[in-house]
């Protein structure tokens, strides 16, 4: 087991290295660099372009050989030097440190919302297979999967904030994170982000439950005289949950991060998505790269955690 964890950690590091390298290459082969964009502004002010360009390149080491640039880029990242945000006038890591909590609370709440409701509805739909409830759940999940989260966000604002006036149309950072007001203003964003996930989980849970609902050990559990709630909620669910864990964790990595990014923009939540969104329009390179890398590392970490969690859930799996 320990060997497996070490192996996985090494593997994750290799993947992380691969991703850093790809990012580096992308930045170098891109047709425009931040220097060029900066230069455009300089040129507009009528200054000598070439000398300024050389000065900048010298300052940031861009005139050195590409391999040397590569190593210093990796070195800086490893030392925790993720660069300087021009638009926020602070180190990138500091900027991220002050904004991550807004993304975190949104993703955490939306995930909890989606898992509890999605798994619950999916279980019910499976138990009541081929009833009206089951069909309704199925239609709902098709709609939920097909509705673009950011548009759903806009529609929620339109109905509940603009017309009904239940909520403010913008996110208010004056409320402390742990306040009821903050929780209330997160209701719409959490729904916008969570409903797509929820709909997916309803489908996955339903089919995972159905896969196990007619297994022989379920008959055994009933033959033991267990109440139906224990049969379904313990014996079936515990087996159905195995494929679900993988799907939910995978979703968290790919879909939720993308969805959270958009949800933050729609609702004006100052999380990492909003930060990197603003950075894009301010040509603030280091921030965009940093947020992408952090997202990637989180996904790597979640993948590893999933595998380890899995060994706990399924006693039949022992990694070598």
């Amino acid at each position: 087991m320990r060997n497996y964890i070490i192996k996985r950690l090494i593997y994750s590091i290799i993947i992380a290295w691969g991703i850093l390298t790809i990012t580096f290459v992308l930045l170098r082969v891109g047709p425009s660099s931040p220097v060029d964009r900066y230069i455009l502004n300089i040129a507009a002010r009528g200054q000598d372009v070439d000398s300024v360009k050389q000065a900048i390149e010298a300052r940031y080491g861009l005139n050195k050989p590409i391999t040397e640039q590569y190593f210093s880029y990796m070195g800086n990242l490893l030392q925790g030097n993720w660069g300087w945000s021009f638009s926020a006038s602070m180190p990138v890591l500091e900027l991220i440190g002050s904004h991550w909590i807004y993304s975190f609370q949104l993703i955490l709440l939306a995930t909890i919302f989606a898992i509890i409701l999605g798994v619950g509805l999916g279980m019910l739909a499976a138990v009541k297979q081929n009833t009206k409830f089951d069909y309704a759940a199925s239609i709902f999940s098709f709609i939920g999967i097909s509705i673009p989260g950011f548009w759903l966000g806009l529609m929620l604002i339109l109905v509940f904030a603009v017309y009904l006036g239940f909520f403010k149309t913008y996110y208010d950072t004056n409320y402390p994170i742990w306040s009821l007001e903050n929780l209330k203003q997160l209701i719409l964003p959490v729904m916008a982000l969570g409903i797509g996930e929820l709909a997916g989980y309803v489908r996955y849970t339903r089919s995972a439950m159905l896969d196990n609902l007619h297994k022989e050990f379920v008959t055994t559990a009933r033959a033991k005289g267990l109440p139906e709630s224990t049969v379904i909620g313990k014996h079936v669910l515990r087996n159905a949950i195995l494929p679900l864990v993988t799907i939910i964790m995978f979703d968290l990595g790919s879909v939720v991060f993308g969805g959270a990014y958009l949800t933050e923009i729609v609702f004006g939540i100052p999380g990492l998505g909003q930060v990197s969104f603003n950075a894009i329009f301010a040509d603030d390179y280091a921030v965009v790269v940093a947020v992408t890398l952090i997202g990637t590392f989180l996904v790597l970490f979640i993948n590893l955690a999933t595998d380890l969690f899995y060994t706990y859930l399924d006693p039949r799996i022992r990694y070598e």
Binding site: I15, G18, I19, I22, T23, L26, L27, G30, P31, S32, F142, I143, I145, S146, I147, P148, F150, W151, L154, M155, I157, L158, V162, T169, G253, S254, F257, G258, Y261, L262, I265, V266, S276, F277, I280, F281, V288, V289, V291, T292, G295, T296, V299, L300, N303
Partner: protein, 320 residues
């Protein structure tokens, strides 16, 4: 039961998959799923609209501030103007007009023309990017399965790296670096979206590789190319078609999301672009945000329904 036409070659029977009876058989199965047919109907409608619509509709980029914020037919808006001289409010009612049946946006652009342009862009991006992604994925998957050994290992590890990237963040990063244009968006989605296809096709091809008819053609001295293109690929064809259908909605949503956050091609009008303008006029012109969202939602829903029906039609174990 699947009716495979059996062709005898040199005494060994080989299944030939593409034939009219088989297509007819699948179509009959698909026809039984009404939701799937409805989805197909909407996709056909959209394709006709996107192909021929722009020849008849107005110029979607035409700005006319005289007719800004016109509601769709059947709706009306009220405008209250305070007259300082008389100290009275004059309320003017603007009803929808038949020359702009779906209304206009804040710059007076015709919504109908913009939506038609959007359906062209969405389908184009969806089909092209999915085409690239699925072709690449199929090629790499079959290659990986066929080569085996270290080449297979290397390709699959590379797939892992690609899968780990949070897709949307990567998309934003690359479009940020290379600049927003439809070509870039299509290429980026195509070059990043192949991982799932590669994995699925690889595992399918691996299980096919051991089947008797492949062994038989090897025994007959068929070349590797022949085995891959005449046997492996036709046998995973149904899988490829289903996967392609079900990946299109994701691509369409990704393009819409990119355009929505302002990273779409500024030279063309897509649904995401309209949503981008619409989100700022939720209180004055709700239809600008509502209409493209409905189109987007219906398109994604249709592809999901159709893809789901296709999967069942192709699955010999599913009852339709």
């Amino acid at each position: 039961m699947s009716e495979e036409k059996i062709v005898s070659r040199g005494g060994i029977k080989l299944p030939v998959h593409v034939n009219r009876r088989l297509v007819r058989y699948y179509w009959d199965r698909l026809k039984k799923n009404k939701l799937s047919l409805a989805g197909l109907g909407f996709i056909v409608f959209l394709a006709l609209l996107g192909t021929f619509g722009p020849f008849f509709a107005a110029d979607p980029q035409h700005v006319d501030f005289d007719v800004k914020n016109l509601p769709p037919l059947g709706f009306s808006t009220q405008e209250s103007i305070y007259d300082i001289k008389t100290s009275t409010f004059t309320t003017t009612v603007h009803p929808g007009r038949s020359d702009h049946p779906l209304g206009t946006d804040s710059k007076g652009r015709d919504m109908l023309a913009m939506l038609i342009s959007g359906s062209r862009i969405s389908l184009l991006v969806g089909l092209l990017a999915t085409g690239i992604a699925i072709s690449l994925g199929t090629f790499l998957g079959v290659l990986s399965a066929y080569l085996g050994g270290w080449a297979d290992n290397l390709l699959m590890r590379f797939t892992d790296v690609m899968m780990t990237f949070p897709f949307f963040l990567l998309l934003v990063l690359i479009v940020f670096i290379f600049g927003p244009s439809l070509t870039i968006i299509v290429i980026v989605i195509g070059l990043t979206g192949w991982t799932g296809a590669a994995r699925l096709i690889r595992s399918e091809a691996l299980s096919l590789r051991t089947r008797d008819f492949i062994t038989a053609s090897k025994a007959l001295g068929a070349s590797d190319n022949r085995i891959i293109f005449n046997h492996l690929i036709p046998n995973v064809a149904s899988l490829i078609i289903v996967m392609a259908t079900l990946s299109i909605p994701g691509v369409i949503m990704a393009e819409a999301a990119l355009s929505f956050i302002g990273m779409g091609d500024p030279m063309s009008t897509s649904w995401g672009t309209i949503l981008n303008t619409g989100q700022h006029t939720l209180d004055t012109a709700w239809w600008v945000a509502v209409e493209p969202g409905i189109m987007l939602f219906l398109t994604v829903l249709s592809f999901n329904f159709f893809g789901d029906g296709l999967r069942d039609a192709f699955d010999p174990k599913a009852t339709v």
